[in-house]
């Protein structure tokens, strides 16, 4: 007897719905084993990870704060992945967006600039991120260079550029030589939603992005073109869709959203530009996009879930001395299970006898 993979006649809608849940279940089982290996009680470790952060308002706000950039970036990435364009440099676009927006905050620092500063910063962040994402996109459509490798290489470049700026020209003269800009002025800061809390206007903007993403994908011709180009490139060519133009468009959108997420993060929770503003949001957002089935509403839920793992990971480190890297392992395993379960939408397993009979009229 032998287990073989076999293409389904049509995609299974049941599995499409439950596969993220199966993936999460399998991940939890794997994590329990990992906790046991690390010598921790799996039940209490999972409790600290996934239950405790949901029980106090500070952690709940913190989850929303972490989910904000994740969801915003992942919505943009989902456009790319749907169109079969592989932007994996969202981390770099996030940083460049942060840098471009911060430029205005640094230039207007200490002046009596008005309330136009923050909107202008967000706009600059989005434009910066979009232009940065267009570099690999243009290299792809003009020269055929792999967008995967170029977009990833530009992450390192963005990281070094930010590092240079905050150690060099933009360093706060009163900052005791720390590599950071001065604290942004109030007009250059994303307002807090609840007095004394950490939840900020970025969360609202993200929700608007989710709605806009759903409308664009579901209700517009461009959204239809994006989906067709990715799912059936040949049909798209017959339909006369310009796939190069769609690569540029989806890269620009995802870059703009990543860039905006970057400047919101800097002008919001962080409050100034410094190295290490992102614990890998751009990469975790890839997992969010897939876990959310490249669907805006799914991404919102997936983003909240992965934000929970960030917060839970921090709490587990404090409460149970579980290393922070466990969170990254968790995220990696989760992505594996998500991808594996998604495969079962299109394929199924079948047991066949290993010595095929010489059947009559075999195809």
């Amino acid at each position: 007897m032998q287990l073989v993979l076999e293409k389904r006649a049509e995609r299974s809608t049941t599995i499409a719905l439950v596969s993220p849940l199966i993936a999460i279940g399998l991940t939890l089982i794997t994590m329990s084993i990992l906790f046991a290996i690390l010598g921790k009680n799996p039940i209490s470790a999972l409790g600290v990870y996934f239950i405790d952060p949901l029980t106090d308002s500070y952690s709940l706000q913190e989850i929303a704060v972490k989910a904000t950039p994740l969801v915003m970036i992942a919505i943009g990435l989902s456009f790319c992945y749907l169109a079969n364009a592989w932007n994996i440099g969202a981390e770099g676009q996030f940083l460049i967006g942060a840098v471009c927006g911060s430029w205005l905050a640094v230039k207007t620092h200490g002046t009596d600039a008005g309330y136009w500063v923050l909107p202008a910063m967000l706009l600059l962040g989005a434009i910066g991120g979009a232009l940065y994402a267009l570099i690999p996109a243009i290299c792809k459509v003009r020269f055929g260079a792999s967008e995967i490798l170029t977009s990833l290489m530009l992450v390192y470049v963005a990281d070094l550029l930010l590092d240079y700026l905050v150690r060099g020209p933009w360093r706060d003269p009163k900052g005791f030589n720390f590599p950071t800009t001065a604290e942004f002025d109030p007009v250059a800061t994303v307002p807090i939603l609840i007095e004394g809390g950490r939840l900020h206007l970025g969360a609202v903007i993200t929700l608007l992005v989710v709605v806009a993403g759903a409308v664009l994908l579901g209700k517009t011709i461009k959204g239809f073109e994006i989906r067709v180009v990715g799912a059936a490139p040949r049909a798209a060519r017959f339909g006369g869709f310009n796939s190069n133009q769609l690569i540029l468009l989806t890269f620009a959108i995802s870059g703009a959203l990543a860039g905006m997420a970057g400047i919101i993060e800097v002008a919001g929770p962080v409050g100034h530009l410094q190295p290490g503003i992102s614990p890998g949001y751009g990469f975790t957002a890839i997992i969010v996009a897939f876990l959310g089935r490249l669907n805006p509403v799914g991404i919102l839920i997936a983003g909240l879930f992965l934000a929970l793992t960030f917060i839970g990971g921090e709490q587990a480190q404090i409460a149970m001395k579980i290393p922070l890297d466990v969170t990254k392992v968790f995220q990696g395993i989760l992505l594996f299970y998500v991808l594996a379960c998604d495969s079962l939408i299109l394929y199924r397993f079948r047991l066949i006898s290993s010595s095929p009979k010489v059947s009559s009229g075999a195809a």
């Binding site: 290299c139 170029t150 240079y164 890839i286 990254k328 392992v329 992505l335 991808l339």
Partner: protein
């Protein structure tokens, strides 16, 4: 030791991990599989390689641990992409994300520890020859191994029957399957070879390049190795040239930083990454007449029965 000699020695050392990882990926891609998880396999190889060497006191044990770790990671990839027909790009990314986490988890207890690095070859008389002696006869074993490996791969791909079959699988898996070759099994071995090379390349870093482990010490070398395979047009000979060119860029920017031309160090550090982008563009542009990539590269194969 003159400056030029020192630079050449440093270039050889910096190129070796790139060459090792790229050699493995070249074979994997020649079999039609695009494994983007090189960085992840390398970084786990680095952590396990250092751990093995530190616990056992032997660089060889460390290198074997690195290889085994790379193979283990590649088997996850093989299970996903070959067994479950999952998209290779997404799985490769997942492998890198997982690798960074696993490497941090394993390596955290070794941070700050030191080992005796791999010894350099010393042949009395030969190694003492001024200039050329140290360069030709004074390297660590990994440098020679990486060169032997690419020669071996070149021989395997172009003169053996097995190599021909492997290339056939990478160019047209449907035909290879129709001829009765076990496409998935051949691809699995190719992926495992890629994992072994990436693991060894990762282990090279803490075992010979710098005798300690730091998290994230591969610093994108796995991705550069992937770019090198594109640069080489999937030809082993060009891969060697590419790896040494990139090693040279890495070392020259370090020396330029030391010389201090007034250019901020971050710009010099960014140079290898920018060079990768530029090289990819130039290579891809030169290839307008059609791609030299294995025709079935990155495509899923589910055998029809």
């Amino acid at each position: 030791m003159g400056l030029l000699e020192a630079i050449i020695l440093a270039v050889l050392a910096a190129s070796t991990p790139l060459l090792l990882a790229a050699t493995g990926e070249l074979v994997t891609e020649r079999a039609g599989v695009l494994n983007l998880g090189v960085e992840g396999m390398m970084i786990v190889g680095a952590a396990c390689g250092f751990g093995g060497a530190w616990l056992s006191g032997s660089v060889i044990v460390g290198a074997i641990c690195g290889i085994l770790a790379g193979v283990a990671m590649s088997l996850i990839f093989a299970l996903m992409t070959l067994g479950l027909a999952v998209n290779q790009v997404a799985t490769g990314l997942a492998l890198t994300i997982l690798g960074v986490g696993v490497s941090g988890l394993i390596g955290s207890r070794f941070v700050g520890e030191k080992i005796t690095p791999a010894p350099k070859l010393y042949i009395p008389g030969l190694t003492d020859i001024p200039f050329a002696g140290r360069i030709l006869f004074g390297e660590d074993a990994f440098v020679y191994l990486s060169l032997a490996l690419i020669v071996g791969v070149s021989w395997f791909l172009y003169t053996t029957r097995a190599g021909l079959i492997l290339r056939a699988v990478g160019d047209n898996h449907v035909s290879a399957h129709a001829l009765g070759y076990p496409v998935l099994r051949i691809r699995m071995f190719a992926v495992m070879f890629g994992g072994a090379c990436a693991g060894l390349a990762g282990a090279y870093l803490p075992l010979a390049y710098t005798p300690f482990f730091i998290p994230g010490m591969t610093a994108g070398r796995g991705w550069i190795a992937l770019a090198l395979v594109v640069f080489s047009s999937w030809l082993p000979g060009r891969l060697v040239i590419g790896a040494y060119l990139f090693g040279a860029v890495t070392i020259l920017q370090l020396h330029a930083q030391g010389a201090g031309f007034g250019i901020p160090s971050q710009f010099m550090t960014a140079l290898p990454y920018l060079a990768t982008v530029i090289v990819l563009v130039l290579i891809s542009r030169a290839r307008t007449g059609g791609s030299t990539a294995p025709a079935a590269l990155g495509t899923v194969f589910v055998p029809d029965r």
